[in-house]
Structure formats: C-alpha cells, structure tokens
C-alpha cells in the first residue's frame, strides 16, 4: 500500500510537471510577443518593452519557465495585470463559490444516483424499472445549460412557475450570510446534481447488474438474505471501489457543467474569472490559475485512486497468509 501511494505520488508530480510544460507552451505559441498581446493593439513599443521587462518576458523560455516554477513552488502565483490583486487571493475568493457548488452538486448526485441505481438493479422487471431507465437516460443527456434554464423556469424567483429559490447572483458578503449564500446555490447545485445523478444512477445500476446474479450474491442469499437485500449489501460493497472511481471521474466531468451553471446563475465563481482572464489576455495570471486548477484535479484523482485501493482489499498489499493449514 505504501509502495502504491509513493508510486502514485511520483505519478502526480510527473503529471504536474508535464502539464506545466503544456500550459507554458500554449501561452508561448501565441503569435507575437506575449507582452504585446497583453499590452493591447494600440500600445507603443516602449510600453510593450516595459511590460516585457516587468514580467520577465524578455528572458529566454527556459529561464522564464524556471522562474515561474520556482515562484509557484514558493506559493507566489503572481499578480493580475488588470486588477493588481494577487492571483492566489483572487482564485481563492472565487473558489469559495465554485468548490461548494461542486461538492454540493456531487453530494446531490450521489444521493440521487446511488439509491435509484440500487432500486433499478433490485427491481429487474416491471414498470418502475423501465421508468427509471428512461428517466436516467433522458436526464443524463440534458445539456447543463438547458437543465439550469428549465429549473429556473420552474423554480426561479420572479421567473418560474413556483418561484421559491433565487435564480441570480450570490450575496455580496459571500458566506458572511450563510443562509442566503446556501439558498442561492440550491438551484445551481440541483442543475448539476440531477444531471450527474442520472449518470451516476446508470453506473451504479450497470455495476450492480454485473454482480446481481453472481456467486457472491447467491452466497449472501444462502446466509439468509433476499436477493434485493443481498444486492443492497453484498453487491454494493463489492462494487464500492468501482463507484469510488466513478465518483472521482464525475467530479472532473461535472466541472464543465458547473462552470456553465455558474455563468447562467451569475455566480461570482471561477468560471467568470477564467473566461474573462482568457478573454483579457491576462496571461501570466491565466498560466498560474490553470496550473493551480490542474494541480487540484490531479490531487482529486490521487485521492480517488488511493480510496479505491483502500476499499478493495485485493489491491492492498497485505501479509500473505498462504499455506497456513494445507
């Protein structure tokens, strides 16, 4: 197990280094000088040169890369060219909206998806089975934007048929007013949670279908369970490692939808910052932001893989008890 964690950590660092090169390169293959792009089309050559010098862009690429890496390693992500604020502070401020939204959405997706998947797997025939199947197929195929719009049309305050949840914005003082902040995340989280939950349901059901008539479930039945109960307990435990992995993947898959939903609900999250930074060519900031996010998602992948290992004793390297009796 320790060996696996170390190996996985090494992979994490290698992948991070790989990504940093890709991000760095993507920003340098821009036509023209980065500083010229950043300064805008109407700027004087002196201004461009000054900017270049200020940002260290007049140095060679390897030197620039090394300086960037060393800054990142020291936790210094640079400052925004437009606002002058520290990238780290700004990103962290935005993440306080995005992260709770992702986590809230993921929890909803698990609450919706796993139990319904279990129901789908235990009721092998009949009306409920088909209804669940069609609903999950349709709900999993809805574009996040459209799903959000439909929810606004039904529940949005001032717009919807039963306007009970705020459909726009986030309290100015953020989590300073937790009730308001929470309620403004309800519809956004539902939008991503329902869509992701439908996919989670399909995964859960197909994983459980794979073990529903296996010897493991029969054995649990032989110990005194009905098939439904055996699937709920033994079956779910057996597919748990797989579900952990799927959850980790959904985390990454949900993010596109989360960013879309953030924009739709005018939430001051990472989406608007990233998109406007890319649009404004605030490139040094974009570079650090993207790297920070990449590191975050790689870390999520790392945690997922380790959790998968822990949930599956077959993958844990344990002391062999072979040959005790035979």
């Amino acid at each position: 197990m320790l060996k696996f964690v170390v190996r996985r950590l090494v992979l994490f660092v290698v992948a991070l280094a790989l990504l940093s090169v890709v991000v760095f390169a993507c920003l340098r293959i821009l036509p023209g000088n980065v500083a010229a792009v950043m300064a805008g089309t109407n700027s004087t050559p002196e201004r461009v040169a000054a900017l270049s010098a200020q940002m260290g862009l007049d140095r060679s690429y390897p030197a620039q890369y090394a300086a960037w890496m060393s800054d990142m390693a020291h936790g210094n992500l640079g400052i925004s060219m437009l606002t002058g604020r520290s990238t780290m502070a700004e990103t962290w401020g935005r993440a306080q909206v995005t992260l709770p939204l992702i986590i809230f959405g993921l929890i909803l997706s698990l609450i919706i998806g796993v139990p319904l998947g279990v129901v789908g797997a235990t009721r092998r025939t009949g009306g409920l089975h088909s209804v669940l199947r069609y609903v999950s197929l349709a709900a999993g195929a809805v574009p996040a934007l459209w799903g959000g719009l439909l929810l606004i049309m039904v529940f949005g305050q001032g717009v919807g048929l039963v306007g009970i949840f705020p459909a726009q914005g986030f309290p100015d003082n953020g989590w300073g007013s937790p009730g308001q902040a929470f309620s403004s995340l309800i519809l956004p989280a539902l939008s991503v949670g329902i869509i992701s939950g439908a996919q989670m349901m399909r995964y859960t059901q197909s994983a459980l279908d794979g073990v529903a008539e296996s010897g493991y479930v029969t054995m649990a039945m032989a110990a005194g369970s009905t098939r439904a109960r055996a699937i709920r307990t033994t079956g779910l435990r057996i597919v748990l490692p797989e579900l952990i992995s799927v959850t980790g993947l959904s985390f990454a898959q949900m993010v596109t939808g989360v960013l879309v939903i953030e924009n739709l609900f005018s939430l001051p999250g990472l989406a608007s910052m990233l998109v406007s930074d890319v649009g404004n060519r605030d490139l040094i900031k974009v570079q650090s932001e993207l790297m920070l996010l990449a590191a975050f998602f790689l870390a999520v992948g790392l945690v997922t893989d380790i959790a998968h290992r822990i949930a599956d004793p077959r993958l844990r390297a344990g002391a062999s008890l072979e040959g005790g009796v035979q």
């Binding site: 649990a220 005194g224 344990g318």
Partner: protein, 302 residues
C-alpha cells in the same frame, strides 16, 4: 431434517431444465445427486431454495420437514436459508465476498437470524474455524489470502455456523485439487454427522460421491414418458422459442444405494458417469477416449 422433493419441474425463460424430479433426503441421511455437466442438478437445489435467477420458474412440491417450499415469498425463503438450511457452493473464491474478511462472512448467518452480542458471535466464529480446521487468526483474512482448500473450509464454516439441519453441498469439491477433494469430503461428512444434520451432496463425480453418500440419485435426460407428461402439463410458455435445444429437461433416471449403483448402473446416464469415474481413476492415459457430454448451457447459472 428431511427434504421431500416430488414432481418438481424447473424452466428458465420457458425452456425446460428439469422435468418431474422426485427425490427424498431423510433425517440424518447423506444423499447424493449426480449428473453430467449441464444436466441441471445445481438448478434443482437452487430453485427449491429460492436461489434461482428471476427468469426461472418452479412447479411441483418440495417439503422441508413438512413445510412447502415451492411458492414461498423471497422473505420466507430468506428466513429458512442460513437458519434451517446451509449451503456450500462449487467455487469458494467465486462465492465468498472478496472485499470482506472471512470471519465477518462466517458470522453473517448468525447475524441475520440470531441476536447475539458481537463478542459471542466472535467466539462462535473462532470455534467454528477450529472445527473446520482453520486457525482462528484467519477470521481477519480476506478470501484471496486463502488457498482454495482453506477458502472452501471457510465456506463450510459459513454453512454450518447456525447448526442448520440440512446442508446442500453443490459440487463443493469440483474446484479443488484431488488431495484437497478427499479432505473436504471427509470434513463435510463428519461435520454433518456430528451436527446430526442431513446432507444433499451434488456432484458429477462418482469417485467423490462414493465417499459421502449412502444413497444417490442419477439425473439424466428425461425418458419418453416424462416428455409426454411435460407437454400435457402445459407450461405457460408453450410457444417460447427454445429452438435447437432438443431436450425437454432432465429428470431422475435411476436411484439406489451408491455402491450398488456404482457396481451395476442400469441407466445410460448412470453407466456413462460410472465409466467416466473409472477411466479417470484407473486409466488416465485413455482419458481422451472418454465420451464427451454434449455441450449445453444452463440458463444463467454456473
């Protein structure tokens, strides 16, 4: 505890697997059920105990100490299994839950049916492990950490932990090597006798069966008379497309004392099985001339 199966017919998705099977296991008796691969012998045990997949239908009567089993609800079946009836399956590594320690799995029937303290459960599990010849420390081991023989011993412990009065062993030795087969069959029959339980031992191998069962039943292709019977018995799925499958299900073609049957098999199926056992034991070099049973696929069941 006695099990009295009479005229049980089993069909999977309308295709007959067993036709009009009758069989009795008396109190304290060890009875064998033998048949070639694909003859549906496992299906008999699973279907009268409610372990069959949802597409399998069962008709007829099976009395467990006078209680009718056919037609019980899933919950009634669950209440019987693990309490009155214990099961040992073919491949322990395909039936023991791979992600749960064996001790927990051995305790499962106790937990399902009796309200005991966890300390009491643990001591019973440890006692049971010793009975089946495993060290108590193996309670915390996972199935993949055990050898095939050890795993089957743990599976036997699962089946016997609640002292059920009937044990159904479904090819319990098939997945094991020859030496281990002998050990496991001895262990199983001595434990069953000690507990005063009955045993239904299902196998395709006469050489194993001879060690376990006093009496046995041979399962083979149903005779003509049974075929006629099955078509008039009118299964609800008469029109189902069972194209290509020539049989109308297996049934009991022969029964009697194991040793007598082994010496003088009367049915073709019995003779083939005896012959196979002989050839395996006495002239392994001629094994390639062994009659190969027709390829067939049991519906969804291993």
């Amino acid at each position: 505890m006695s099990l009295e199966i009479s005229n049980v017919s089993v069909a999977a998705s309308g295709a007959p697997i067993l036709t009009s099977v009758s069989l009795t296991v008396g109190d304290h008796e060890r009875v064998g059920l033998i048949g070639a691969s694909g003859s549906g012998k496992s299906m008999l045990a699973t279907s009268v105990m409610g372990l069959m997949p949802s597409n399998v239908t069962v008709r007829g009567s099976a009395l467990l100490d006078g209680q009718e089993l056919v037609g019980l609800s899933p919950h009634q079946f669950a209440d019987i299994r693990g309490r009155s009836v214990g099961f040992v399956f073919q491949d322990p590594l395909a039936s023991l839950n791979p992600v749960v320690p064996v001790g927990t799995q051995i305790a499962a029937p106790l937990k399902r049916h009796y309200s005991l303290g966890s300390a009491e459960r643990r001591s019973r599990v440890e006692a049971m492990l010793e009975k089946v010849g495993l060290e108590p420390r193996l309670a915390t081991a996972y199935p993949h950490e055990l050898s095939g023989g050890q795993a089957q011993r743990a599976a036997i412990a699962c089946a016997l932990i609640t002292s059920p009065r009937l044990i159904i062993a479904d090819e319990p030795t098939t997945a094991l090597d020859a030496m281990t087969q002998v050990q496991i069959t001895h262990l199983l029959s001595s434990l069953v006798d000690d507990a005063g339980a009955s045993l239904l031992f299902i196998t395709h191998d006469f050489s194993v069966l001879a060690r376990v069962a006093q009496r046995c039943y041979v399962l083979g292709a149903a005779p003509e008379s049974a075929r006629a019977g099955s078509s008039t018995a009118g299964s609800s799925n008469v029109g189902s497309s069972n194209v290509g499958s020539s049989n109308v299900g297996s049934s009991i073609v022969e029964s009697g004392e194991t040793h007598e049957l082994l010496a003088h098999p009367r049915s073709a199926a019995g003779a083939r099985l005896v012959e196979a056992a002989r050839r395996l034991s006495f002239s392994a070099q001629n094994a390639d001339q062994m009659p190969v049973p027709p390829r067939s696929h049991e519906g969804g069941q291993l």
